[in-house]
Homo-oligomer: 130 residues x 2
């Protein structure tokens, strides 16, 4: 990630501001950067609209203890951010987001992460005969 | 993805050439763009060296019927590519790669994808009492 990329791409500025907000557990600030009609392609399927998107993203954001941007680039309307996370469930869980920004807010997102270690951690934490 | 980004980042040129090669099932061409001492952070754990990396990547590359780059950007030494794939196991499986390019070859990579649908597809395809 370069400062040049940070400062020259309007879409990347929004993507990184969104990233910083949820990384700081400030869900309200993060959601001000998301379009009310967001269409998000998530590993579990499509997520439509701000309320559903908040329900999808907030629990994970709250569980993170560390995030680190590995690569972040963009152009006028789109950006890609690839980052690592540590959370209460999984110590090392990288993720990546492609975003399309319209009028300063994320209108479309494709988010990629590995659900398998989260599923395994939840299964391991569940009571054996639940 | 912009043509400008394609033409101005040396690292992105390598990342996209690598992407095109494996997408065309040309594993040999793809591997010429990978450093013999590659260190790859994959969902299943670290992958060290070209032989192990080929074993990791080739089966998936061969199984793909379609790839589509959604976002691709880079600077002098690093690039990020986020793409969608269709394969024999999973119809819609996006992935993302951050790469560090040294002397025209990918020396470090963090690759992100969701292993869960692949694990589910393999389980569903297995004989019930295998």
């Amino acid at each position: 990630m370069t400062e040049t990329a940070t400062t020259t791409s309007p879409a990347l500025r929004v993507a990184l501001a969104y990233h910083r907000a949820w990384s700081a557990h400030d869900i309200e600030a993060a959601m001000t950067l998301v379009d009310p009609e967001i269409v998000c392609d998530s590993p579990g399927g499509p997520v439509h609209g701000l309320a559903a998107f908040r329900d999808f993203m907030a629990p994970f954001a709250r569980s993170t203890s560390r995030t680190e941007v590995l690569g972040a680039f963009g152009d006028d309307e789109t950006a890609v951010v690839l980052y690592d996370t540590s959370s209460t469930l999984v110590e090392h869980a990288p993720g990546a987001e492609w975003v399309h920004v319209v009028d300063g807010r994320i209108a479309r997102m494709t988010i990629v992460f590995d659900r398998l270690p989260f599923a395994q951690a939840r299964a391991a934490a569940a009571p054996p005969h639940a």
